[in-house]
């Protein structure tokens, strides 16, 4: 009986090791660009007014103090009586 368990144990261990796969990491190899040989198809024009688009600048306004109540004045007036 004990022998049977040993065999079963070995069998399960071998299954567990068998699941691991070997992962090989490989980095991308260098690519060479011959910049001098590159060709861009299109028309060559000089930059001018037409090429600069005028756009509205985003304006950030300060949140300036704008009094909308006199609550503190009311409290102060009552205090000033006594």
């Amino acid at each position: 009986m004990r022998f049977f368990f040993y065999i079963l144990g070995f069998y399960m261990m071998s299954l567990a090791y068998g699941d691991e796969q070997k992962v090989i990491y490989q980095y991308k190899k260098y690519e060479k660009f011959d910049l001098g040989n590159l060709e861009v198809k299109g028309q060559l024009i000089a930059p001018g007014d037409i090429s600069v688009r005028e756009r509205e600048r985003k304006r950030f306004e300060m949140d300036l103090f704008n009094r909308d109540n006199f609550d503190s004045f009311i409290a102060k007036d009552v205090e000033s009586l006594r």
Binding site: R57, R59, E61, M62, D63, L64, F65, N66, R67, D68, N69, F70, D71, F73, I74, D77, V78, E79, S80, L81, R82
Partner: protein
């Protein structure tokens, strides 16, 4: 035998009528030692049943001493004496502790003919305001005004008349302030205009009216009202917020240079003076009487600050609170003198320590109030400084935008025209060309045209 007994009994009873013993407090009251009598009255009555006659006596004593002394008394003790004066004090305490229901209960029990009724109604309106009960608030303000006017007309003394006038005006002005908060600007102005120019409150209201006009977009009137503060008659009234509002209004009219003049003036002139004043006063922050003393005799360091300190202190001395407390100190000093001159040693030993203690308490109170007022004023400077700094940045940003868009403002600084002045059909108009500051204080208006329209620069300068 029986007849003899009756005669003896009758004869025996005569001295008891003649020498009916008065209480010590009554004896003191007869001698017009009211502050001492008040203290003795509480000692005599606090642990016995309170009678109607006691309440009458308390009211009569408080008529002379004022209720300021009761502010330090325990509420439980004051509850034993249900008079209008004590209810006023208790209602006020409850309001400060935010016990609104209790506060309203006390205020509702102040008798309508009592001298504190108008002020009670003013405070009641504050409670309703805190509870957001607008209808009740309006009713209380109205009752406050009616009763204050009635009391003013019946008052014998000029000081008392002034007190009721002040209560009336605060109730009226608070209504205006509530209209302002609700953005009902025209109604706010109607209420503000009911305050006469000779009123103590009037100089303070110029700033508030200026804000109302600002919110209505009448910038010329805002600037005109703020100009009033430059009058020699109002030199004790300096409000940093008024400087800010003027700069902000010029900014709204796109008169950037004018706005910058005010900003720079504040930074160069006022801020350093406030800072040095702050340093001097901070050294004495924990003193019990420094601020009381400088109200009458500024020390050498403060004198160096010149009329500036005088202006702040003068304004504080005009407050009703100061006047009441100082008047109480004066009366106590008179009582101390009379006791020292007229009474024997035992009585002196019994009365004087208490009176001196009360006097010290009042000095501490004035000192505390003065200190609070001064530091609240000084603490407002950094806030206004910060807002002016933000305004400065905004002006620089706007100017930068003009350059960026190759534009300029439509006019230079030579602008202004009578046609820009808005006025109602009840307002007359006089030109102000080198005239003397006079009756028209507070009715000025500038004639500036908004400079916010921009035009594109036609020529771009080339190198």
């Amino acid at each position: 035998m029986k007849i003899i007994f009756y005669i003896l009994f009758f004869l025996n009873s005569i001295p008891s009528f003649a020498e009916e013993k008065k209480s010590f407090s009554s004896a003191l009251e007869d001698k017009k030692y009211y502050f001492s009598a008040l203290n003795e009255f509480f000692i005599e009555t606090y642990n016995r049943e309170i009678l109607n006659s006691d309440l009458k006596k308390l009211e009569s004593l408080l008529f002379y001493t004022g209720i300021e002394l009761l502010e330090d008394y325990d509420s439980e003790l004051l509850l034993k004496y249900p008079t209008s004066s004590t209810r006023f004090i208790l209602g006020r305490k409850a309001f400060q502790e935010k016990k609104f229901k209790l506060s309203l209960d006390h205020f509702s029990k102040i008798h309508p003919s009592h001298r504190y009724y108008p002020e009670g109604k003013l405070l009641e309106a504050q409670v309703f305001n805190a509870q957001n009960k607008l209808k009740e608030r309006g009713d209380s303000y109205l009752e406050c005004q009616v009763s204050a006017e009635k009391n003013e007309s019946n008052a014998q003394n000029e000081k008392i008349k002034r007190y009721y006038r002040m209560v009336f005006e605060i109730c009226l002005v608070n209504k205006a302030r509530h209209h302002f908060k609700m953005e009902e600007y025209k109604q706010a102005l109607i209420a503000y205009d009911r305050i006469p120019k000779k009123s103590y409150k009037w100089p303070y209201l110029l700033l508030e009216k200026a804000w109302v006009y600002y919110q209505m977009g009448d910038y010329n009137r805002t600037l005109g009202l703020l100009t009033t503060y430059k009058s020699p008659l109002l030199d004790t009234y300096f409000f940093p917020e008024a400087e800010y509002l003027a700069a902000l209004t010029y900014f709204k009219l796109c008169l950037y240079e004018d706005s910058l003049i005010i900003v720079n003036q504040f930074y160069q002139f006022y801020r350093p003076r406030f800072q040095s004043l702050d340093q001097i006063l901070k050294k004495n922050r924990s003193s019990q009487n420094y601020f009381f003393n400088i109200m009458f005799r500024p020390d050498e360091e403060l004198i160096k600050e010149g009329e500036f300190v005088d202006q702040i202190l003068t304004r504080m001395k005009k407050q009703t609170r100061f006047s009441l407390d100082f008047n109480a100190i004066f009366k106590i000093e008179q009582e101390i003198k009379r006791i020292e001159q007229n009474e024997k040693g035992v009585i002196k030993d019994k009365l004087l320590p208490h009176l001196k203690e009360v006097k010290e308490n009042l000095i501490t109170k004035i000192n505390y109030n003065a200190k609070t007022d001064i530091f609240q004023f000084l603490d407002s400077i950094p806030f206004i400084s910060q807002e002016l700094f933000k305004l400065n940045l905004e002006i620089i940003s706007r100017k930068k935008d003009l350059v960026y868009f190759n534009k300029r403002l439509i006019a230079d600084r030579s602008r202004g025209d009578y046609s820009n002045i808005k006025r109602s059909r009840f307002e007359y108009f006089w030109k102000f060309d080198g005239s003397f500051w006079a009756d028209e204080l507070g009715d000025y208006s500038m004639g500036l045209k908004s400079n916010c329209q921009t035009i594109r620069n036609e020529k771009v300068e080339e190198e």
